[in-house]
Structure formats: C-alpha cells, structure tokens
Chain length 398, copies 2
C-alpha cells in the first residue's frame, strides 16, 4: 500500500533528528548540555500537582469538549490582566498550542490554501499545516537586522486568492524578537484590508526583556473578528508535558465550528486541565520572576556571543531563543561535530540547526537556534563550550 | 472571512447536541439516566493515580514523541496475552483512540480518498476523516440481522481507485457486534487482494459476551503490512478522561511516517501516560471482571427489550452498546420527548438518536443507541423508564 503524499512530504523534526547522535555521545560518557529544544529546567509550580491531588479522581471521566469550566475561567482571568475580555464560549481548551494551531488551520484553510508566516518560524508549523494540506508561504526576515518584518507592501505582494491567514509567534520562536507596535498594527491592517485571519501564537507572552512590553494582539481594537490567539502553559509555567493549550477568539462562527473539532476528539486530558487551571491562577509576580530569570540567561548568552568574532546576532528580546548566524559553511555539520568530536572537560553542547526553521530552500544553512533553557551556571559553561568549539572548528570560515 | 468548507461540512456531535435539553430537564428537578454516551460509571483503578503520585513530577517535561517507554512496554505486554508481538517502534502513543484514527487517516489518505466503514459506525469517525478531507464510504448493515457484514462481493463493489482503507470497531460501537472468524478473514482477504489498509479499532477488545472470543485482527497471519490497530485505555479501564490511546502496526514505513505526526505535536500528556502504563499492567482477571459486569448489564437491557413489542434488536455481543430499532417515526423526537415530557417518579433517560451513526441519508431515523454504562440497579430503573416511555409515547406506531 502506498502512503499518502501528504505524510510522505512531511519533514522529520529538525530539532529531534540529531537526537541519536547526542544519545551516542552520552553513551560514551560525554555530558551534553541541551540547548536544542525548548524544555526549560525550571520546576513546574507545586500548585499543578496539588490541584491534581485534590481533584476527585475516582472516575477519570471525559471532560467537556470545550474544556473544564475552571480552566476556561482561569484563562479568562489571565487575559483580563491585559484588559482583554473573553466570554466562556470564546475560549476552547486544546492539546497544547500544537492542536490549537492545527485546529485554526483546519478551520481557516481548505487543501491548497496558504498561510503567510514570517520565517524563520517554529518548525512544527510545517507539520500542523502540511498534515492538513495547507501551505506555508514565508515572509522572509534576516539575522542582519534582527529579523524585523519587511514593510507592508512586501508582505502584501505575497497575498494571493488562496491566502487565508497570517501566522506568527510573538515573542518569537526561534528568533527571540518581540513585535513592535508598528509591526502589530501593520499586520492588523493587512488582515483587515485583505480579509485574512490572524493566528497569533502567544505562548511566550509576558517574556519580553529590557523594559519591552510583550503585547497581545488582543489589545488591538478592530481586529476581533480576524483574531485567533494561541495560548499554552508549556513555556510560561514550565509544564511542557501537560499538553494544555487554548484557542481564544471573539469570532463566534469560527469558535462554533472549531468546537466541532473539539467534540470529535471528545476532550483534553482531565487531570492536566485541573493542574493547568491552578497555573493560570498564579499571580502576575510569578511571570515577572520567570521573565527575570530568562533575562539573566539571555544576558549570559548575548555577552558571550559578543566575544565571538564572525557571528551575526542582534540582541534577542524575548521568549528564550536566539538564532545565531555562524562563520561555518554548514551549521548542521558543526552541530554534529560538537557532539561527536569536541568537548571541554568531557562536556559539550547540542544546538538546533536552523535550516529547518526556514521554508525557503537554502536559507538558514549557516545558522543555529539556541534555547537558553538552563540555569545561569550551566548556561555560562555551555556558552564557553560554544566559544571554544567555534575557535577549534576546522571548517571555520573567518 | 470565510471559514473552510471542510469545517463547515462537519456535523455537530449527534450525541452531544441534545445535551442542552437534558440540562434543562435536570434544572427542572428531573433525574436523567445518561445512556447516551459511553462514559462508564466504573471507578478508574487506583493504580492510575498511585502511579502518577509516585512519579517525579518536579518538572512536567515533554514526553517522547513516540510515547513513554514504560507505557509502550506495558502495551507490548498487553498484546502478548493474545500472542501478538510488537517491537518498541511498532507502537506509538496517541491522544486517545481519537488521535490514533486521525493519524491513520492522514497517513493513508490524501484529500478525496475514501475509507470503507461498516455503518452504523462510531459517529466521530466522520470527524476524524472529514477534518482531513477523507471520505467515508459506508458498508451498510441492518438491525434485522444483527448488523452482520454483507458478503465479500457486496463489499468489493464499493471499492474504487480512491479506496485506501477499511475502518471498523470490534467489538462494535454502536452495534455491540463481535466479528466472526469468517468476517475477520473476509476483511483480511479484501485488504490483501485490493491492497488496502485495515484500521482495526480495538478499544473494546476483551469485552465480548456469551463465551464469544473477542479476537484482535493482529491474530490473523499475512496481514501484518496492512494492519493498523487502534488501542485506548478509555473504556476497558474506565479512564475516558485520560486521553491515552495507541497505534500499533508492523508496517515500518507507515510507523516511521506517523512518527512525524507525533513529533509535530511533540508528545502526549506525560502524567496520564504514567498512569495508563499502570492500567495496562493490571492482570487479565481485571478485564474479565469488567467484562462480567457489562455482561450482567447487557442481560438486564436485553431482558427488558424482549418484553417490548415492536422493537427490532438482536442480542448485542460485546462492547457496551446496543442499537434498537423503535416503533416510532422519528427516534430523535422520542429522545426529546423522554427528556421534556416524560418521567417515572420524576426520573427519565437520555438516549442517542442513531441517525448520526449512519452515513447513508435516511437510515437510522427510527433507531437509538443505548450505552449500558450504569450499574445494574440503575440499568433496571432506566430500562423500566424506556419500557413505560414507549408504552406512553403518543407517536408510537405499533
């Protein structure tokens, strides 16, 4: 039997495909610092497990298809901090931000339809769209100017009758950019003028540094019918394995239709919703502390990068990633070399080659994504390994 | 903005759309016995929460995309009871059986491709296939002969170049049928001769009554490359809200490709996998007890049905459902009447109109699905309400 073309066309996860090489390095006794995946080392707040343990779990029943009422209420309260008000039926709980993006794609696109996405982008957007036959059309951005968006005309030139939505993460994975007010309003204007949905992935919301404000697209008036916000507990609350996300939108027809997708798959895991509700009830000060911690780590990363000749990297502004353009011909080979051939006191690092974050062939070949998800001491050690590794790399260009 | 055609074409859950009417009845003080949804009243075994509480949950990390190794091992052991042997890479953990069927559809079908499904069928199959643009082509079966499959020729007549798979649940939801050896071999032969996948939904495996054996399609030799088994903890272990399922297949290319879908959505909830692993480690005697309990309930249901004139219903053989052809012109109206107009001592029942379980327009209009998911005492009360309700129903035909 032949498999479907759509599944054969999907790429393997570029973040995960080098895992066997890292596993081998570890089996040979080398310590590997994982900067290749967005798995924070911060403990999940206790309230998560406490809430689960207090829950009456005698029968692990189906939850509501739209989500547990207590979780929906908590997410409403979370948005209210930014003066954004969602009704009960304007929030749907999903299996992480992942299912939320997939559902938004199914609801807005038929097979062959297109979604504009600034590249480099979160690589799994390829999966969420490709598996349901929507196509990503990239809005290319560049390391040299800190991955700022091009102007309105350049973006509008990419719009065709098949374009249904603009999808982006803000603060951005993998770039660490935070959209400016001007960029947000430009995207809003484009959506309104060209009748497009905006799928605003805000799972890193609140994580913007240097006094920058991480604003939700929900604060922009006039785009209510266009806007689909993607939420998740994974990063902000260090609960990646909970797989709790949400779709929030004031477009009633859209939400009634996405509810049908929710009903088909019945519900999201009940216990994890109970735990996630407690996470959203944590005070704003929790998010502030977490942001401060990542800002400290960002500073360690950027200070070291500034000491390395030949790299291109603007100061990342948010989330916990940075894309680094390296003075090497092939970043993936460098990543493999770090794992297989290099060590400092029998320790090395793992990075994510950035090519997989681009839709345009050939772009990102000399770039890596680094996730600063380790504590400050580990980050210092890891960054020193990167510095020494680049100095020692035989294929180094500059 | 227009929504996609595919999402607009999806039907609302026929099981859930009458929920507001039941809610209203309850708000007026009426007790409603829910026989409309497959939510068992049996307690989830303690081992589930115990395992979660023993797990080191300081950081709720991403699990592996393919699933937690301990859960994969437990499912391997579960299959071994039937002398079916799966390697580590032949099992992928999914968000319930729901995601498993969706992934199997994406992997085997491109948009416009067809899957043969005996009807009446589990209504969410419509969602899992329609949302990714595959089409269900029904193999119609009838209450009058206990929903047995038609002969091979009749099924083969439905196959077109677009047919990629045959999907069915066994033991069957909503019919309660258990496939005979002859039916299983016929389906296997058709798959081999016409180069089709078999998607065998075995989430009710083990729940066959009257000394009938519920056999897995995995016991049939020669179809290894064709066979995709769908598993779930929901029903057998009364853990519907855990959302833990699995895909098992010996087709290596298929599994490598479905792994890409698993990687895109990162992982399934970590804690629930740990709990589910403990469920699968329960001894075979647990499944036997559960089966015995449902057999007792089935007997209560069938004994009452035998006392009612004018219904058509063969004795259900497994799972915990039965489709009943009623002497009424419109089963949905009868279901609504039971909720709105009828009661016995201020108690009534809720059933699922069966029309939504058919793909062929007009079929099932006079049928309901009844889920015997309540304890024996409640089932006796509920069945008496059904009997008295039918006697009192003004629109009754016979």
């Amino acid at each position: 039997m032949k498999l479907s073309q759509r599944i054969q066309a999907m790429q393997e996860s570029p973040v995960r495909k080098l895992v066997p090489i890292a596993t081998k390095a570890k089996s040979l006794g080398k310590k590997v610092y994982h900067l290749n995946i967005g798995q924070p080392d911060i403990e999940t707040p206790d309230v998560f497990m406490n809430a689960i343990n207090e829950y009456d779990s005698r029968i692990i029943k189906y939850s509501f298809s739209q989500g547990e009422p207590t979780l929906i209420k908590s997410i409403q309260n979370y948005f209210k901090r930014d003066d954004i008000h969602f009704e009960d039926n304007e929030i749907l709980i999903t299996n992480g931000g992942s299912e939320a993006v997939t559902f938004a794609t199914i609801a807005t696109c038929d097979p062959g339809d297109e979604i504009l996405v600034p590249e480099p982008f979160y690589t799994n957007y390829n999966g969420f769209t490709g598996e349901v036959n929507a196509t990503i059309k990239p809005i290319t951005t560049y390391a040299e100017n800190g991955f700022r968006l091009p102007n309105k005309q350049a973006i509008e030139a990419l719009i065709t009758p098949k374009t249904k939505a603009i999808l982006f993460s803000n603060p951005g994975n993998p770039t660490g950019t935070v959209l400016t007010d001007e960029e947000m309003h430009m995207l809003a204007d484009i959506a309104i003028e060209h009748n497009l949905f905006i799928i605003s992935d805000e799972v890193y919301h609140g994580m913007a540094f240097d006094e920058l404000e991480s604003k939700s697209m929900g604060t922009i008036p006039g785009i209510e019918e266009h806007l689909i916000i993607i939420e998740s507990v994974s990063k902000r609350y260090s609960a990646c394995g909970a797989r709790i996300g949400a779709i929030a939108s004031k477009n009633t027809a859209l939400m009634l239709n996405i509810l049908k997708l929710c009903q088909a798959r019945l519900c999201v895991a009940t216990l994890e919703q109970i735990g996630a509700s407690a996470l959203y009830e944590l005070p704003e000060s929790y998010t502030q502390e977490i942001k401060q911690e990542y800002e400290t780590r960002r500073n360690i990363v950027y200070d070291t990068l500034n000491q390395i000749d030949g790299i291109v990297c603007e100061k990342p502004q948010g989330a916990f990633y940075v894309i680094i353009k390296l003075p090497v011909p092939d970043a993936e080979q460098f990543v493999v070399w770090l794992l297989e051939e290099f060590d400092v006191n029998n320790e090395t690092i793992m990075l994510a080659p950035a090519e997989g974050f681009y839709a345009t062939a050939g772009l990102g070949k000399d770039e890596v994504r680094l996730a600063y998800v380790l504590n400050s001491e580990d980050m210092k050690t890891a960054m020193n390994i990167l510095k020494l590794g680049l100095e020692a790399y035989p294929e180094r260009l500059i």
